[in-house]
């Protein structure tokens, strides 16, 4: 039997915890959808329990992985996705505590998180990469954390848009949960978009400072930099369309989902499609 703290034992523990996390998030996602559709305290309790359980296991898995890799979880695709899911769920729980009406967004957010974990878990290797010296800077930590916060806000905005578009917000369970609808939902979408834009701006600025440390220039029109700029422009455009031109309802919801698509591609897809200086670090 492999000792738990041996390298092989740590890999096994890491992967086992990863899949337990994914299964628990899947359970949480299912209970949020059932809560939204049928309502009732029972589903509310189960959704909260499953989310907290998944978050605890996710935290332990990240700690094990961090110990195994010897660096913070932001090098490989597996690390990036698990740490992003962790931060997004923490953000969701914090927001939900402040405004319980937003619990309904879990019916969109947690399925997306589960799919991301499942996809990456089957496609990526559990290998850990060696971080270059240029990673030993606080700016990289700021860059990564704010990227994840931005993705969290974009997902929450898109989640509210999704609930409105699919009519889920009008289901009995949603009504019982006081899910924001109409102008209140548009208002929340705007606020999450504004918060996401704030985080995205910090992410780009911190990234440019790190790029200057690592490569000697603040901006180099590298594909991932250009896609971050495109993402920033799309979110700026969205804010202008809401504030100045009064976009709301279906148009705003579709725009939110499209903006989320651009955001996810910019953050996770570009390194798979383009030969980018950022992607060279990643263990696929």
């Amino acid at each position: 039997m492999t000792p738990l703290l041996s390298p092989a034992g740590l890999v096994t523990a890491d992967l086992t915890l990863y899949w337990v996390t994914a299964v628990l998030y899947a359970a949480a996602a299912a209970s949020y959808v059932l809560r939204l559709v049928f309502g009732g305290d029972r589903w509310a309790r189960w959704s909260a329990r499953a989310t907290w359980a998944a978050l605890v296991v996710n935290t332990v898995q990240l700690a094990v992985h961090w110990y195994r890799a010897g660096h913070a979880p932001y090098i490989s695709r597996l690390e990036v996705v698990t740490s992003t899911v962790w931060l997004i769920v923490v953000l969701f729980l914090v927001v939900q505590r402040r405004t319980p009406e937003l619990a309904a967004a879990g019916a969109f957010l947690l399925p997306v998180a589960t799919l991301a974990l499942g996809f990456v878990g089957t496609a990526a290797t559990p290998a850990v990469g060696a971080p270059p010296l240029s990673f030993a800077t606080v700016w990289l930590g700021i860059h990564v954390v704010f990227t994840q916060l931005f993705v969290g806000c974009a997902l929450l905005a898109a989640g509210l848009a999704f609930l409105g578009l699919t009519g889920l917000a009008a289901r009995p369970g949603a009504v019982a949960m006081r899910v924001p609808q109409g102008r209140a939902a548009d208002d929340l979408i705007y606020r999450f978009t504004a918060a996401g834009f704030f985080f995205l701006t910090i992410m780009i600025l911190a990234g440019s400072i790190w790029a200057n440390h690592a490569w000697g220039r603040y901006w180099g029109w590298d594909p991932i930099e250009v896609w971050s700029l495109i993402c920033w422009l799309i979110y700026a455009l969205k804010l202008h369309l809401i504030r100045t031109f009064g976009w709301k309802g279906g148009r705003l919801a579709w725009l939110s989902l499209a903006a989320l698509g651009v955001a996810l591609f910019s953050m996770f897809g570009v390194v798979l499609v383009y030969p980018s200086i950022h992607g060279s670090y990643m263990v696929k």
Partner: protein
């Protein structure tokens, strides 16, 4: 911009939100097009040519719009300039409007022009006026609002004879400065980028281990590292730099082929590595890339005394020479140099070298010698040289000074040489003294970096103001009920985009007053 011209047709066009939206969309689309194909300035001309060969149709279209160097093309720069001008015009306009609204805080219907209000609502409370006003103030405070007595005009229009108590709960309201300050930060950042490009300069130093660069000295002939005509006069601008040694310890990923160098800058010992630049006041010294490693081998007749001196390291030994073949030296021995471009290539590339005195070809390869590991990060202290010898056909019996040819039967398949070690081959001895490295350093002066930092913080701070202090307020009045039983609470919430949820929370909080008395 003068007020007159700002109000003119050009000013009106530039501050038009439609133009701003169109320019933002056009800029995003241009960036997208710039990502369809590799760019000459980023991927290199070879990559662009290869892409053009595989996508002839799209390449033809992209050539029409300068799509392979799009980010430096004229039309892209014009688009960027227009976007900056539009932002500037909108910023001025926003400042004017915010200043007006700050000087004359909107009340009631005036405020409605700025922030569309939720409809006025009424609640019947079974309390006297003072108690009702107190309860309302408490409820508004619980919502995080600053509460103060208000102008009762807001809700008492048409009932001037009725005694009313009015309260106003509001957020701090600095958020109204968010958008103009953010846009101002963007415009200034744009100006600073242009000014920074005009004022910054950089130079490159190509140094061999043990070599030094002294800006006060005239560049030597044949020293490309110091005779770069494009550099500014460096005397007095940068200190003398000496590369003491490389520390090839880190086996890193691509773009970080090797890391650390010990330097002496201005007489002081320093340490610099890839991704860890050295800041010297306004200067930044950065290890750009390792140029190459040179393995030298010395071939002498077996039994001759080794008089090999330590490697002579000269400041002007750059770029590294490639001998091409063994060079006969005055003492009758031969010297051969084998250049490995960088560590990553060295692990893959083999360097064949025909050795006529041995009658065959020796193939050399650098092999990293791992001596320790830190977690999963292997540390390499030095390299070994792996040599494989392939003799010519049996007819080839070249003879050296001793008249001894290499005997195929006596040759090992592959031999590893540690630095300083020798091996015997036929009547010859091959010695591998050690490796030498060359490195490119860049020295950059960016005097406006603190300005970039300040402006970045301005942008972030301005966005934060908008997020954490949005302009919202609630105006509430408490009137005597018409039938003389209790009071009527009449209120409306003033909140712009992003405030409807706040309005709902306010309605919920105030309606609880009604529920509480039931």
């Amino acid at each position: 911009m003068a007020a007159g011209s700002f109000a003119g047709p050009l000013g009106r066009t530039l501050r038009s939100p439609r133009l701003a939206i169109a320019l933002l969309a056009a800029f995003a689309a241009a960036c997208l097009v710039g990502n369809l194909a590799p760019q000459v300035g980023i991927a290199g001309a070879d990559a662009v040519a290869a892409w053009q060969a595989t996508h002839p149709g799209l390449a033809h279209l992209l050539r029409l719009i300068d799509g392979f160097s799009l980010f430096t093309s004229g039309w892209f720069l014009v688009l960027t300039g227009l976007l900056a001008l539009s932002t500037l015009a909108c910023t001025i306009d926003q400042f004017r409007r915010v200043r007006r609204s700050a000087a004359h805080p909107p009340v009631g219907a005036e405020g409605a022009r700025l922030l569309p209000p939720a409809p006025t609502r009424e609640i019947l409370l079974g309390l006297d006026q003072a108690a009702a006003a107190r309860r309302v103030a408490e409820a508004l405070r619980r919502l995080g609002l600053r509460v103060r007595p208000a102008d009762p005009r807001a809700a008492s229009a048409g009932q001037a004879d009725v005694p009313v108590l009015a309260v106003r709960g509001e957020t701090v309201g600095l958020g109204r400065w968010s958008s103009p300050l953010f846009h101002l930060g963007l415009v200034l950042l744009f100006v600073a980028v242009i000014a920074g490009a005009l004022t910054q300069w950089s130079t490159t130093l190509l140094l061999a281990e043990g070599g030094a660069f002294d800006p006060a000295k005239q560049p030597a002939h044949g020293d490309p590292g110091q005779a770069d005509g494009s550099r500014p006069a460096l005397a007095g601008r940068i200190p003398p730099v000496m590369l003491i040694e490389h520390l090839p310890r880190y086996q890193l990923k691509r773009y970080q082929p090797d890391a650390a160098s010990r330097l002496q800058v201005g007489g002081r010992p320093q340490f610099v590595s890839m991704g860890r630049p050295l800041t010297l006041g306004r200067l930044t010294l950065r290890q750009a890339r390792r140029y190459g490693a040179l393995a030298e081998v010395v071939i002498r007749p077996a039994g001759s005394p080794s008089s090999e001196p330590a490697l002579v390291r000269r400041a002007t030994d750059s770029p590294p020479p490639d001998f091409g073949g063994p060079v006969e030296r005055p003492d009758g021995s031969y010297q051969a140099g084998l250049v490995f471009v960088n560590q990553e290539n060295a692990e893959r590339q083999e360097r064949p070298l025909y050795l006529p005195m041995l009658g065959g070809t020796a193939t050399f390869r650098l092999v990293p010698q791992a001596t320790a590991a830190n977690y999963r990060l292997p540390l390499y202290q030095r390299f070994q040289l792996a040599m494989t010898f392939t003799p010519d056909a049996p007819a080839s019996q070249a003879s050296g000074p001793t008249g001894t040819a290499a005997s195929p039967a006596a040759l090992p398949a592959q031999r590893l040489l540690r630095p300083g070690e020798s091996l015997s081959l036929g009547g010859w001895t091959i010695t591998f003294p050690s490796l030498r490295y060359w490195t490119t350093f860049t020295v950059t002066s960016t005097p406006l970096t603190p300005v970039f930092f300040l402006l970045s913080w301005l942008c972030i701070g301005a966005l934060g103001l908008g997020l954490f202090s949005p302009p919202r307020w609630v105006e509430a009045v408490v009137l005597p009920a018409p039938q003389g039983r209790g009071t009527v609470l009449r209120y409306h919430v003033m909140a712009g985009r992003g405030g409807a949820f706040f309005a709902e929370r306010t309605h919920l909080a105030l309606s609880r007053l009604e529920e509480a008395q039931e």
